[in-house]
Protein backbone atom coordinates (compact mmCIF):
# COMPACT_ATOMS: atom_id res chain seq x y z
CA UNK A 1 0.00 0.00 0.00
CA UNK A 2 2.80 2.36 1.04
CA UNK A 3 4.84 1.23 -1.92
CA UNK A 4 1.83 1.72 -4.13
CA UNK A 5 1.29 5.24 -2.70
CA UNK A 6 4.99 6.02 -3.27
CA UNK A 7 4.71 4.68 -6.77
CA UNK A 8 1.66 6.89 -7.29
CA UNK A 9 3.55 9.97 -6.06
CA UNK A 10 6.45 9.14 -8.38
CA UNK A 11 3.99 8.72 -11.24
CA UNK A 12 2.44 12.11 -10.49
CA UNK A 13 5.88 13.74 -10.37
CA UNK A 14 6.85 12.12 -13.67
CA UNK A 15 3.63 13.35 -15.26
CA UNK A 16 4.25 16.84 -13.92
CA UNK A 17 7.77 16.79 -15.28
CA UNK A 18 6.58 15.55 -18.68
CA UNK A 19 3.98 18.31 -18.83
CA UNK A 20 6.53 20.91 -17.79
CA UNK A 21 9.05 19.75 -20.37
CA UNK A 22 6.33 19.73 -23.04
CA UNK A 23 5.30 23.26 -22.15
CA UNK A 24 8.90 24.36 -22.14
CA UNK A 25 9.50 22.88 -25.58
CA UNK A 26 6.28 24.46 -26.89
CA UNK A 27 7.33 27.81 -25.53
CA UNK A 28 10.78 27.57 -27.04
CA UNK A 29 9.34 26.55 -30.39
CA UNK A 30 6.97 29.51 -30.27
CA UNK A 31 9.84 31.81 -29.41
CA UNK A 32 12.03 30.51 -32.21
CA UNK A 33 9.26 30.76 -34.80
CA UNK A 34 8.34 34.28 -33.83
CA UNK A 35 11.83 35.60 -33.47
CA UNK A 36 12.49 37.98 -36.34
CA UNK A 37 15.46 37.05 -38.43
CA UNK A 38 16.80 40.57 -38.37
CA UNK A 39 19.63 42.27 -36.60
CA UNK A 40 17.03 44.05 -34.52
CA UNK A 41 15.77 40.83 -33.03
CA UNK A 42 17.21 41.87 -29.71
CA UNK A 43 14.71 44.66 -29.53
CA UNK A 44 11.82 42.23 -29.29
CA UNK A 45 9.91 43.09 -26.19
CA UNK A 46 8.00 40.39 -24.37
CA UNK A 47 5.01 42.04 -22.82
CA UNK A 48 2.22 39.58 -22.74
CA UNK A 49 1.38 36.18 -21.40
CA UNK A 50 -1.00 33.53 -22.53
CA UNK A 51 -1.29 30.01 -23.76
CA UNK A 52 1.54 29.06 -26.05
CA UNK A 53 0.48 28.88 -29.65
CA UNK A 54 2.60 28.19 -32.65
CA UNK A 55 1.43 30.26 -35.58
CA UNK A 56 3.31 30.02 -38.83
CA UNK A 57 4.67 33.42 -39.78
CA UNK A 58 3.81 34.45 -43.31
CA UNK A 59 6.11 37.04 -44.72
CA UNK A 60 5.90 37.91 -48.40
CA UNK A 61 3.76 34.86 -48.84
CA UNK A 62 1.93 34.12 -52.03
CA UNK A 63 -1.18 36.27 -51.78
CA UNK A 64 -4.53 34.57 -51.41
CA UNK A 65 -6.67 34.36 -54.52
CA UNK A 66 -8.60 37.56 -54.88
CA UNK A 67 -11.65 38.50 -56.83
CA UNK A 68 -9.72 41.02 -58.84
CA UNK A 69 -6.34 42.17 -59.91
CA UNK A 70 -4.64 38.82 -59.85
CA UNK A 71 -2.68 37.00 -62.48
CA UNK A 72 -4.95 34.19 -63.59
CA UNK A 73 -2.31 31.52 -63.81
CA UNK A 74 -4.68 28.59 -63.49
CA UNK A 75 -7.54 29.84 -65.57
CA UNK A 76 -8.94 27.71 -68.34
CA UNK A 77 -7.90 29.30 -71.65
CA UNK A 78 -10.52 31.36 -73.42
CA UNK A 79 -10.90 29.04 -76.39
CA UNK A 80 -11.52 26.13 -74.02
CA UNK A 81 -13.84 27.99 -71.69
CA UNK A 82 -16.15 28.81 -74.54
CA UNK A 83 -15.24 25.86 -76.76
CA UNK A 84 -14.97 27.98 -79.88
CA UNK A 85 -15.38 26.18 -83.17
CA UNK A 86 -14.69 27.65 -86.62
CA UNK A 87 -17.83 28.69 -88.45
CA UNK A 88 -18.02 29.01 -92.20
CA UNK A 89 -20.36 30.86 -94.50
CA UNK A 90 -20.18 30.11 -98.21
CA UNK A 91 -16.90 28.40 -97.65
CA UNK A 92 -15.36 31.35 -95.87
CA UNK A 93 -14.51 31.51 -92.20
CA UNK A 94 -16.79 34.17 -90.76
CA UNK A 95 -16.21 33.64 -87.05
CA UNK A 96 -16.18 31.09 -84.27
CA UNK A 97 -19.22 29.38 -82.85
CA UNK A 98 -19.80 29.29 -79.11
CA UNK A 99 -20.34 25.77 -77.85
CA UNK A 100 -19.25 25.66 -74.22
CA UNK A 101 -19.58 22.36 -72.39
CA UNK A 102 -20.94 24.32 -69.45
CA UNK A 103 -23.34 27.02 -70.72
CA UNK A 104 -23.19 28.72 -67.34
CA UNK A 105 -19.95 30.38 -68.48
CA UNK A 106 -22.20 32.66 -70.54
CA UNK A 107 -24.16 33.76 -67.49
CA UNK A 108 -24.22 37.52 -67.13
CA UNK A 109 -24.01 38.18 -70.84
CA UNK A 110 -26.59 38.07 -73.60
CA UNK A 111 -24.64 35.51 -75.56
CA UNK A 112 -26.05 32.05 -76.13
CA UNK A 113 -24.74 28.69 -77.23
CA UNK A 114 -24.67 28.73 -81.02
CA UNK A 115 -23.84 32.42 -81.41
CA UNK A 116 -20.98 33.15 -83.79
CA UNK A 117 -18.36 35.57 -82.52
CA UNK A 118 -17.07 37.65 -85.40
CA UNK A 119 -15.16 40.42 -83.61
CA UNK A 120 -13.37 40.27 -80.30
CA UNK A 121 -11.67 43.14 -78.49
CA UNK A 122 -12.18 45.29 -81.57
CA UNK A 123 -10.51 42.89 -83.96
CA UNK A 124 -11.90 40.43 -86.44
CA UNK A 125 -11.80 36.90 -85.08
CA UNK A 126 -9.97 35.23 -87.93
CA UNK A 127 -7.50 32.37 -87.81
CA UNK A 128 -4.60 34.63 -86.83
CA UNK A 129 -6.51 36.24 -83.97
CA UNK A 130 -7.84 32.88 -82.87
CA UNK A 131 -4.30 31.51 -82.72
CA UNK A 132 -3.25 34.07 -80.15
CA UNK A 133 -6.60 34.51 -78.41
CA UNK A 134 -5.64 32.57 -75.31
CA UNK A 135 -2.49 34.62 -74.85
CA UNK A 136 -4.28 37.93 -75.46
CA UNK A 137 -7.02 37.15 -72.95
CA UNK A 138 -5.11 35.21 -70.34
CA UNK A 139 -5.36 37.91 -67.70
CA UNK A 140 -8.39 39.89 -68.84
CA UNK A 141 -11.58 40.04 -66.83
CA UNK A 142 -13.77 40.50 -69.86
CA UNK A 143 -13.76 41.31 -73.55
CA UNK A 144 -16.05 43.18 -75.89
CA UNK A 145 -17.45 40.96 -78.62
CA UNK A 146 -19.60 41.33 -81.69
CA UNK A 147 -21.56 38.24 -82.63
CA UNK A 148 -24.05 36.96 -85.13
CA UNK A 149 -27.29 35.18 -84.31
CA UNK A 150 -29.74 34.17 -87.01
CA UNK A 151 -28.22 36.63 -89.41
CA UNK A 152 -28.43 39.61 -87.06
CA UNK A 153 -25.43 41.29 -85.44
CA UNK A 154 -25.18 42.08 -81.73
CA UNK A 155 -22.58 43.32 -79.28
CA UNK A 156 -21.92 42.55 -75.64
CA UNK A 157 -19.32 42.18 -72.93
CA UNK A 158 -18.22 38.61 -72.31
CA UNK A 159 -16.76 37.93 -68.90
CA UNK A 160 -14.11 35.30 -68.40
CA UNK A 161 -14.30 32.86 -65.54
CA UNK A 162 -11.35 32.38 -63.30
Amino acid sequence: MTAARAHGRRGTMVKAMVITVALLIAGLVAYCVRKPASKDADKVQIVSTGAPTVTPVQVEASPQPQSSGEIKANRTPFTQQFNLKPHYSRGQLDGYLLDPADPSVLRGSALQVGDVITIIDGMRLDEAKFARLDMDTKNLDDVFVAYERNGALFEDILSLRN
Binding site: I46, V59, S62, Q66, G69, M135, L140, V143
Partner: protein
Protein backbone atom coordinates in the same frame (compact mmCIF):
# COMPACT_ATOMS: atom_id res chain seq x y z
CA UNK B 1 9.54 25.68 -12.21
CA UNK B 2 7.03 28.53 -12.12
CA UNK B 3 9.56 30.89 -13.63
CA UNK B 4 10.29 28.42 -16.41
CA UNK B 5 6.59 28.09 -17.13
CA UNK B 6 6.21 31.86 -17.12
CA UNK B 7 8.91 32.22 -19.74
CA UNK B 8 7.36 29.46 -21.79
CA UNK B 9 4.00 31.21 -21.71
CA UNK B 10 5.43 34.64 -22.15
CA UNK B 11 7.15 33.76 -25.39
CA UNK B 12 3.88 32.85 -27.01
CA UNK B 13 2.66 36.39 -27.62
CA UNK B 14 4.99 39.20 -28.44
CA UNK B 15 4.49 42.70 -29.70
CA UNK B 16 7.04 45.01 -31.14
CA UNK B 17 7.48 48.62 -30.13
CA UNK B 18 7.19 51.19 -32.92
CA UNK B 19 10.79 52.08 -33.47
CA UNK B 20 11.85 55.66 -34.01
CA UNK B 21 12.83 54.71 -37.54
CA UNK B 22 9.48 53.16 -38.41
CA UNK B 23 9.11 51.84 -41.92
CA UNK B 24 6.05 52.06 -44.13
CA UNK B 25 4.44 48.77 -45.06
CA UNK B 26 1.66 47.82 -47.41
CA UNK B 27 -0.58 45.16 -45.92
CA UNK B 28 -2.80 43.29 -48.34
CA UNK B 29 -5.86 41.66 -46.90
CA UNK B 30 -8.17 38.91 -47.94
CA UNK B 31 -11.55 40.20 -49.17
CA UNK B 32 -13.34 42.07 -46.40
CA UNK B 33 -10.63 41.44 -43.82
CA UNK B 34 -10.39 43.62 -40.73
CA UNK B 35 -6.84 44.77 -41.18
CA UNK B 36 -7.11 47.40 -38.47
CA UNK B 37 -7.07 44.73 -35.81
CA UNK B 38 -4.21 42.87 -37.42
CA UNK B 39 -2.04 45.96 -37.73
CA UNK B 40 -2.77 47.13 -34.21
CA UNK B 41 -2.12 43.71 -32.73
CA UNK B 42 1.21 43.63 -34.51
CA UNK B 43 2.21 46.91 -32.96
CA UNK B 44 1.79 48.97 -36.13
CA UNK B 45 0.01 52.22 -36.81
CA UNK B 46 -2.32 52.66 -39.75
CA UNK B 47 -1.27 55.48 -42.01
CA UNK B 48 -3.72 55.09 -44.87
CA UNK B 49 -6.65 52.87 -45.71
CA UNK B 50 -7.30 51.71 -49.23
CA UNK B 51 -10.42 49.89 -48.20
CA UNK B 52 -11.76 49.39 -51.70
CA UNK B 53 -8.90 47.02 -52.46
CA UNK B 54 -8.54 45.57 -48.95
CA UNK B 55 -5.21 47.21 -48.31
CA UNK B 56 -3.84 49.34 -45.52
CA UNK B 57 -0.62 51.27 -45.41
CA UNK B 58 0.93 51.04 -41.97
CA UNK B 59 3.96 52.20 -40.11
CA UNK B 60 5.77 49.70 -38.02
CA UNK B 61 9.04 48.82 -36.41
CA UNK B 62 11.53 46.22 -37.41
CA UNK B 63 9.41 43.32 -36.30
CA UNK B 64 6.13 44.52 -37.70
CA UNK B 65 6.28 42.63 -40.94
CA UNK B 66 6.85 39.31 -39.26
CA UNK B 67 4.23 40.02 -36.62
CA UNK B 68 1.44 41.07 -38.96
CA UNK B 69 2.22 38.39 -41.51
CA UNK B 70 0.50 35.64 -39.61
CA UNK B 71 -2.57 37.56 -38.54
CA UNK B 72 -5.98 36.53 -39.68
CA UNK B 73 -7.05 38.27 -42.86
CA UNK B 74 -3.55 39.26 -43.90
CA UNK B 75 -2.71 37.90 -47.32
CA UNK B 76 0.68 39.51 -47.76
CA UNK B 77 2.84 42.29 -46.42
CA UNK B 78 5.85 44.13 -47.73
CA UNK B 79 7.83 47.24 -47.01
CA UNK B 80 6.87 50.06 -49.36
CA UNK B 81 9.66 51.69 -51.25
CA UNK B 82 10.35 54.74 -53.33
CA UNK B 83 11.60 54.05 -56.80
CA UNK B 84 12.20 56.06 -59.93
CA UNK B 85 9.04 55.86 -62.01
CA UNK B 86 10.41 58.16 -64.68
CA UNK B 87 13.83 57.22 -66.02
CA UNK B 88 16.18 60.15 -66.31
CA UNK B 89 16.83 59.43 -69.95
CA UNK B 90 13.25 60.27 -70.74
CA UNK B 91 13.61 63.80 -69.52
CA UNK B 92 15.73 64.78 -72.47
CA UNK B 93 14.29 68.22 -73.05
CA UNK B 94 15.08 71.46 -74.70
CA UNK B 95 13.52 74.56 -73.40
CA UNK B 96 14.51 78.12 -74.04
CA UNK B 97 13.22 81.54 -74.86
CA UNK B 98 11.91 80.70 -78.31
CA UNK B 99 9.29 78.39 -76.97
CA UNK B 100 8.56 80.03 -73.65
CA UNK B 101 5.35 82.02 -73.75
CA UNK B 102 4.74 81.70 -77.47
CA UNK B 103 2.91 84.63 -78.99
CA UNK B 104 -0.81 84.69 -78.49
CA UNK B 105 -2.65 84.17 -81.71
CA UNK B 106 -6.31 84.66 -80.98
CA UNK B 107 -7.25 84.98 -84.60
CA UNK B 108 -5.81 81.68 -85.68
CA UNK B 109 -4.60 78.29 -84.63
CA UNK B 110 -2.39 77.86 -81.59
CA UNK B 111 1.03 79.06 -82.76
CA UNK B 112 2.97 75.97 -81.71
CA UNK B 113 0.47 73.45 -83.02
CA UNK B 114 2.52 73.00 -86.18
CA UNK B 115 5.30 71.44 -84.11
CA UNK B 116 2.97 68.63 -83.00
CA UNK B 117 3.58 65.93 -85.62
CA UNK B 118 1.99 63.39 -83.30
CA UNK B 119 -1.44 64.80 -84.06
CA UNK B 120 -0.84 64.12 -87.73
CA UNK B 121 0.22 60.54 -86.99
CA UNK B 122 -2.91 59.71 -85.03
CA UNK B 123 -5.32 61.70 -87.24
CA UNK B 124 -6.44 63.94 -84.40
CA UNK B 125 -7.38 66.82 -86.66
CA UNK B 126 -9.58 64.54 -88.73
CA UNK B 127 -11.38 63.58 -85.54
CA UNK B 128 -11.88 67.24 -84.62
CA UNK B 129 -13.30 67.88 -88.07
CA UNK B 130 -15.83 65.14 -87.36
CA UNK B 131 -16.96 67.26 -84.42
CA UNK B 132 -15.31 65.46 -81.52
CA UNK B 133 -12.75 67.18 -79.32
CA UNK B 134 -13.19 65.27 -76.09
CA UNK B 135 -16.22 67.05 -74.70
CA UNK B 136 -17.79 65.01 -71.89
CA UNK B 137 -14.78 62.74 -71.38
CA UNK B 138 -12.86 62.72 -68.11
CA UNK B 139 -9.20 61.79 -68.13
CA UNK B 140 -7.07 61.44 -65.02
CA UNK B 141 -3.38 62.19 -65.42
CA UNK B 142 -1.28 60.53 -62.72
CA UNK B 143 2.18 62.01 -62.77
CA UNK B 144 4.46 64.55 -61.10
CA UNK B 145 3.37 68.07 -60.20
CA UNK B 146 1.39 70.55 -62.27
CA UNK B 147 1.15 74.27 -62.93
CA UNK B 148 -2.56 74.77 -62.60
CA UNK B 149 -2.53 78.29 -64.03
CA UNK B 150 -0.56 77.45 -67.15
CA UNK B 151 -2.40 79.16 -70.01
CA UNK B 152 -2.96 75.83 -71.77
CA UNK B 153 -4.02 73.94 -68.63
CA UNK B 154 -5.99 76.50 -66.61
CA UNK B 155 -9.65 75.86 -67.20
CA UNK B 156 -8.95 72.44 -68.62
CA UNK B 157 -9.04 70.52 -65.33
CA UNK B 158 -11.68 69.79 -62.72
CA UNK B 159 -10.53 71.00 -59.29
CA UNK B 160 -12.80 68.48 -57.58
CA UNK B 161 -10.75 65.60 -58.97
CA UNK B 162 -7.33 67.20 -58.82
CA UNK B 163 -5.19 66.23 -55.87
CA UNK B 164 -1.76 65.57 -54.48
CA UNK B 165 -0.98 62.13 -53.07
CA UNK B 166 2.62 62.86 -52.14
CA UNK B 167 2.23 65.54 -49.48
CA UNK B 168 4.47 67.93 -51.42
CA UNK B 169 1.63 69.98 -52.84
CA UNK B 170 0.15 69.81 -56.33
CA UNK B 171 2.80 71.99 -57.95
CA UNK B 172 6.04 70.66 -59.34
CA UNK B 173 9.23 71.71 -57.65
CA UNK B 174 12.93 72.10 -58.26
CA UNK B 175 14.76 68.96 -59.24
CA UNK B 176 18.50 69.10 -59.66
CA UNK B 177 18.38 65.71 -61.34
CA UNK B 178 16.45 67.07 -64.30
CA UNK B 179 18.05 68.75 -67.28
CA UNK B 180 15.75 71.74 -66.89
CA UNK B 181 16.05 71.93 -63.11
CA UNK B 182 12.34 71.33 -62.82
CA UNK B 183 10.41 68.10 -63.04
CA UNK B 184 7.53 69.20 -65.27
CA UNK B 185 6.82 65.75 -66.70
CA UNK B 186 3.19 65.95 -65.58
CA UNK B 187 2.68 69.17 -67.45
CA UNK B 188 3.97 67.60 -70.64
CA UNK B 189 1.68 64.58 -70.48
CA UNK B 190 -1.36 66.61 -69.39
CA UNK B 191 -0.84 69.04 -72.23
CA UNK B 192 -0.61 66.31 -74.85
CA UNK B 193 -4.01 65.07 -73.75
CA UNK B 194 -5.89 68.25 -73.09
CA UNK B 195 -4.04 71.52 -73.79
CA UNK B 196 -6.62 74.14 -74.66
CA UNK B 197 -7.38 75.17 -78.19
CA UNK B 198 -7.11 78.81 -77.32
CA UNK B 199 -4.72 80.51 -79.66
CA UNK B 200 -1.84 79.97 -77.25
CA UNK B 201 0.91 77.39 -77.40
CA UNK B 202 -0.14 73.85 -78.25
CA UNK B 203 -3.35 71.85 -78.58
CA UNK B 204 -4.10 68.59 -76.82
CA UNK B 205 -5.40 65.53 -78.65
CA UNK B 206 -8.70 66.03 -76.83
CA UNK B 207 -8.73 69.77 -76.08
CA UNK B 208 -12.22 69.73 -74.62
CA UNK B 209 -11.82 66.71 -72.36
CA UNK B 210 -11.87 67.36 -68.63
CA UNK B 211 -8.59 66.60 -66.92
CA UNK B 212 -8.15 65.29 -63.40
CA UNK B 213 -4.60 66.08 -62.35
CA UNK B 214 -3.31 63.73 -59.69
CA UNK B 215 0.22 64.09 -58.38
CA UNK B 216 1.63 60.71 -57.39
CA UNK B 217 5.34 61.34 -57.96
CA UNK B 218 7.61 63.52 -55.92
CA UNK B 219 9.46 66.41 -57.49
CA UNK B 220 12.44 64.10 -57.72
CA UNK B 221 10.55 61.87 -60.15
CA UNK B 222 10.51 59.05 -57.64
CA UNK B 223 7.42 57.79 -55.94
CA UNK B 224 6.10 55.23 -53.54
CA UNK B 225 3.87 52.32 -54.46
CA UNK B 226 1.47 53.52 -51.81
CA UNK B 227 1.00 56.90 -53.53
CA UNK B 228 0.66 55.41 -56.99
CA UNK B 229 -1.99 52.96 -55.81
CA UNK B 230 -3.79 55.68 -53.85
CA UNK B 231 -3.79 57.91 -56.91
CA UNK B 232 -5.34 55.21 -59.08
CA UNK B 233 -8.09 54.63 -56.55
CA UNK B 234 -8.65 58.35 -56.07
CA UNK B 235 -9.16 58.83 -59.79
CA UNK B 236 -11.30 55.72 -60.16
CA UNK B 237 -13.64 57.00 -57.47
CA UNK B 238 -14.19 60.21 -59.43
CA UNK B 239 -15.87 58.73 -62.47
CA UNK B 240 -13.04 59.15 -64.91
CA UNK B 241 -13.18 57.35 -68.25
CA UNK B 242 -9.43 57.04 -68.63
CA UNK B 243 -6.49 56.96 -66.25
CA UNK B 244 -3.32 57.95 -68.07
CA UNK B 245 -0.11 56.92 -66.37
CA UNK B 246 3.12 57.88 -68.06
CA UNK B 247 5.20 56.16 -65.47
CA UNK B 248 6.68 52.81 -64.79
CA UNK B 249 8.85 51.14 -62.25
CA UNK B 250 10.82 47.94 -62.46
CA UNK B 251 11.29 45.32 -59.79
CA UNK B 252 13.15 42.04 -59.81
CA UNK B 253 10.73 39.21 -59.14
CA UNK B 254 13.20 37.85 -56.66
CA UNK B 255 13.32 41.08 -54.69
CA UNK B 256 11.85 40.91 -51.26
CA UNK B 257 8.34 42.30 -51.38
CA UNK B 258 8.14 42.43 -55.16
CA UNK B 259 5.15 40.15 -55.51
CA UNK B 260 3.25 42.04 -52.82
CA UNK B 261 3.94 45.42 -54.38
CA UNK B 262 2.89 44.05 -57.71
CA UNK B 263 -0.33 42.80 -56.16
CA UNK B 264 -0.94 46.25 -54.73
CA UNK B 265 -0.72 47.90 -58.14
CA UNK B 266 -2.65 45.09 -59.82
CA UNK B 267 -5.47 45.44 -57.32
CA UNK B 268 -5.62 49.21 -57.81
CA UNK B 269 -5.65 48.93 -61.61
CA UNK B 270 -8.28 46.22 -61.51
CA UNK B 271 -10.40 48.33 -59.15
CA UNK B 272 -10.23 51.24 -61.57
CA UNK B 273 -11.23 48.96 -64.42
CA UNK B 274 -14.23 47.70 -62.48
CA UNK B 275 -15.20 51.28 -61.73
CA UNK B 276 -15.29 51.97 -65.45
CA UNK B 277 -11.89 53.53 -66.12
CA UNK B 278 -9.52 52.28 -68.78
CA UNK B 279 -5.98 52.44 -67.43
CA UNK B 280 -3.47 53.38 -70.13
CA UNK B 281 0.19 53.14 -69.19
CA UNK B 282 3.63 53.53 -70.71
CA UNK B 283 5.54 50.38 -71.58
CA UNK B 284 8.91 51.75 -70.49
CA UNK B 285 12.06 53.02 -72.15
CA UNK B 286 14.56 50.24 -71.61
CA UNK B 287 14.55 48.95 -75.18
CA UNK B 288 13.81 45.51 -73.83
CA UNK B 289 11.67 42.68 -75.06
CA UNK B 290 9.30 41.04 -72.64
CA UNK B 291 8.80 38.05 -74.92
CA UNK B 292 12.12 36.29 -75.06
CA UNK B 293 14.34 37.60 -72.32
CA UNK B 294 16.96 34.92 -72.73
CA UNK B 295 17.72 35.90 -76.27
CA UNK B 296 17.46 39.64 -75.83
CA UNK B 297 19.33 40.02 -72.61
CA UNK B 298 16.32 41.29 -70.72
CA UNK B 299 16.47 40.27 -67.09
CA UNK B 300 14.18 37.28 -67.03
CA UNK B 301 12.70 38.11 -63.70
CA UNK B 302 11.87 41.76 -64.28
CA UNK B 303 8.41 43.11 -63.45
CA UNK B 304 7.46 46.44 -65.01
CA UNK B 305 4.62 48.19 -63.28
CA UNK B 306 1.95 49.17 -63.97
CA UNK B 307 2.36 48.06 -67.58
CA UNK B 308 2.42 44.40 -66.53
CA UNK B 309 -0.87 44.75 -64.69
CA UNK B 310 -3.47 42.52 -66.32
CA UNK B 311 -6.12 45.16 -66.99
CA UNK B 312 -3.77 47.94 -68.09
CA UNK B 313 -3.23 48.96 -71.71
CA UNK B 314 0.50 49.12 -72.35
CA UNK B 315 1.78 51.65 -74.89
CA UNK B 316 4.94 51.59 -76.99
CA UNK B 317 6.42 54.61 -78.77
CA UNK B 318 6.78 55.57 -82.42
CA UNK B 319 8.65 58.43 -84.07
CA UNK B 320 9.68 59.99 -87.38
CA UNK B 321 13.30 60.35 -88.44
CA UNK B 322 14.01 63.78 -89.79
CA UNK B 323 10.55 65.33 -89.63
CA UNK B 324 12.18 68.73 -89.23
CA UNK B 325 13.67 68.35 -92.71
CA UNK B 326 10.76 66.69 -94.42
CA UNK B 327 7.32 66.67 -92.91
CA UNK B 328 6.20 63.88 -95.21
CA UNK B 329 8.51 61.28 -93.69
CA UNK B 330 7.14 58.09 -92.19
CA UNK B 331 5.94 58.93 -88.67
CA UNK B 332 5.67 55.42 -87.28
CA UNK B 333 9.13 53.97 -86.80
CA UNK B 334 9.39 52.07 -83.55
CA UNK B 335 11.34 54.30 -81.16
CA UNK B 336 14.84 53.09 -80.41
CA UNK B 337 14.24 53.00 -76.66
CA UNK B 338 10.75 51.57 -76.46
CA UNK B 339 10.10 48.36 -74.61
CA UNK B 340 8.40 45.81 -76.82
CA UNK B 341 7.03 42.31 -77.02
CA UNK B 342 3.77 40.74 -78.08
CA UNK B 343 3.08 39.68 -74.55
CA UNK B 344 3.00 43.24 -73.22
CA UNK B 345 2.41 45.84 -75.93
CA UNK B 346 -1.24 46.56 -76.68
CA UNK B 347 -1.00 49.71 -78.79
CA UNK B 348 1.50 52.28 -80.02
CA UNK B 349 1.50 56.06 -80.01
CA UNK B 350 3.79 58.95 -80.95
CA UNK B 351 6.61 59.16 -78.41
CA UNK B 352 9.41 60.74 -80.41
CA UNK B 353 13.01 59.63 -80.75
CA UNK B 354 16.55 60.85 -81.07
CA UNK B 355 18.20 59.94 -84.36
CA UNK B 356 21.91 60.87 -84.42
CA UNK B 357 22.05 60.76 -88.20
CA UNK B 358 19.57 63.63 -88.43
CA UNK B 359 21.97 66.56 -88.45
CA UNK B 360 21.94 70.27 -89.20
CA UNK B 361 19.50 72.97 -88.22
CA UNK B 362 15.88 73.16 -89.28
CA UNK B 363 13.17 75.78 -89.06
CA UNK B 364 9.62 74.61 -88.51
CA UNK B 365 6.71 76.94 -87.79
CA UNK B 366 9.13 79.79 -87.22
CA UNK B 367 11.23 77.88 -84.68
CA UNK B 368 14.85 77.08 -85.57
CA UNK B 369 16.59 74.21 -83.81
CA UNK B 370 18.87 71.25 -84.53
CA UNK B 371 16.80 69.11 -86.87
CA UNK B 372 16.71 66.03 -84.64
CA UNK B 373 14.80 67.93 -81.95
CA UNK B 374 11.75 68.15 -84.17
CA UNK B 375 11.40 64.36 -83.93
CA UNK B 376 10.67 64.84 -80.24
CA UNK B 377 7.18 65.44 -78.82
CA UNK B 378 6.37 69.07 -78.12
CA UNK B 379 4.02 69.94 -75.27
CA UNK B 380 3.39 72.11 -72.24
CA UNK B 381 6.04 72.60 -69.56
CA UNK B 382 6.85 74.54 -66.44
CA UNK B 383 6.41 78.27 -65.86
CA UNK B 384 4.07 78.87 -68.81
CA UNK B 385 6.57 77.22 -71.11
CA UNK B 386 6.66 74.37 -73.62
CA UNK B 387 9.34 71.83 -74.37
CA UNK B 388 10.31 68.75 -76.35
CA UNK B 389 10.69 65.33 -74.83
CA UNK B 390 10.80 61.68 -75.85
CA UNK B 391 9.59 58.47 -74.29
CA UNK B 392 6.74 56.06 -73.95
CA UNK B 393 5.57 58.69 -71.45
CA UNK B 394 4.85 60.89 -74.44
CA UNK B 395 3.20 58.09 -76.41
CA UNK B 396 0.76 57.22 -73.64
CA UNK B 397 -1.10 60.56 -73.49
CA UNK B 398 -1.62 60.47 -77.24
CA UNK B 399 -3.49 57.19 -76.78
CA UNK B 400 -5.34 58.53 -73.75
CA UNK B 401 -6.40 61.52 -75.81
CA UNK B 402 -7.78 59.26 -78.53
CA UNK B 403 -9.69 57.32 -75.89
CA UNK B 404 -11.20 60.62 -74.72
CA UNK B 405 -12.27 61.43 -78.27
CA UNK B 406 -14.00 58.03 -78.50
CA UNK B 407 -15.87 58.70 -75.25
CA UNK B 408 -16.85 62.13 -76.51
CA UNK B 409 -18.59 60.50 -79.45
CA UNK B 410 -20.07 57.35 -77.95
CA UNK B 411 -20.48 58.38 -74.31
CA UNK B 412 -19.37 56.60 -71.17
CA UNK B 413 -18.81 52.93 -71.79
CA UNK B 414 -17.38 49.77 -70.30
CA UNK B 415 -13.58 49.93 -70.44
CA UNK B 416 -13.51 46.68 -72.42
CA UNK B 417 -15.57 48.41 -75.08
CA UNK B 418 -13.31 51.46 -75.04
CA UNK B 419 -10.31 49.18 -75.45
CA UNK B 420 -12.07 47.54 -78.38
CA UNK B 421 -12.66 50.91 -80.06
CA UNK B 422 -8.98 51.76 -79.71
CA UNK B 423 -8.00 48.40 -81.19
CA UNK B 424 -10.56 48.59 -83.96
CA UNK B 425 -9.31 51.95 -85.18
CA UNK B 426 -5.59 51.31 -84.84
CA UNK B 427 -3.47 51.18 -87.98
CA UNK B 428 -2.11 47.66 -88.25
CA UNK B 429 1.63 48.19 -88.65
CA UNK B 430 4.57 45.79 -88.67
CA UNK B 431 3.76 42.11 -88.36
CA UNK B 432 0.10 41.78 -89.24
CA UNK B 433 -2.42 41.67 -86.42
CA UNK B 434 -0.07 41.85 -83.46
CA UNK B 435 3.41 43.20 -83.85
CA UNK B 436 5.99 43.11 -81.04
CA UNK B 437 6.50 46.88 -81.34
CA UNK B 438 3.09 48.16 -82.39
CA UNK B 439 0.87 45.65 -80.62
CA UNK B 440 -2.54 45.91 -82.25
CA UNK B 441 -1.34 49.02 -84.06
CA UNK B 442 -0.71 52.73 -83.73
CA UNK B 443 -3.87 54.47 -82.60
CA UNK B 444 -5.90 56.35 -85.18
CA UNK B 445 -8.51 58.72 -83.79
CA UNK B 446 -10.44 59.20 -86.99
CA UNK B 447 -10.71 55.47 -87.66
CA UNK B 448 -11.83 54.76 -84.11
CA UNK B 449 -14.57 57.35 -84.51
CA UNK B 450 -15.68 55.76 -87.76
CA UNK B 451 -16.32 52.33 -86.30
Amino acid sequence: MKSVLKIAFATSLVTFPLAASAETFVVLGTPGANLNAAVTAAGGRIKKRLASIDVVVAEGGSGFRAAVGGKAGVAAVAADRKIKWIPKGERAVFRDADVVNPPNNPAGIDPRFNLQWGHTAIKAVDAWKMGYEGHGARVAVLDGGFQLNHPDIAGRYDPSCTADMTGEGIAYGPNSDDDTGIFAHGMHTAGTIGAARNGVGTIGVAPKATLCLVKVLFNSGSGSFEDVAAGIIYAADRSVDVISMSLGGSLQKSEEGASTLRQLIDRAVSYAYKKGALVIVSAGNDGQSADSPKTTGTPANLIHLPSDSPQAISISATAPRGWGKNQNVFLDNPASYTNYGRSVINLAGPGGDYTPSVTGDCTVAGVTRPCYIFDFVFSTGAANSYYWSIGTSMATPHVSGVAALIVSKYGKMHPAKLRAYLNAGADDLGVSAHDPYYGNGRVNAARSLSK
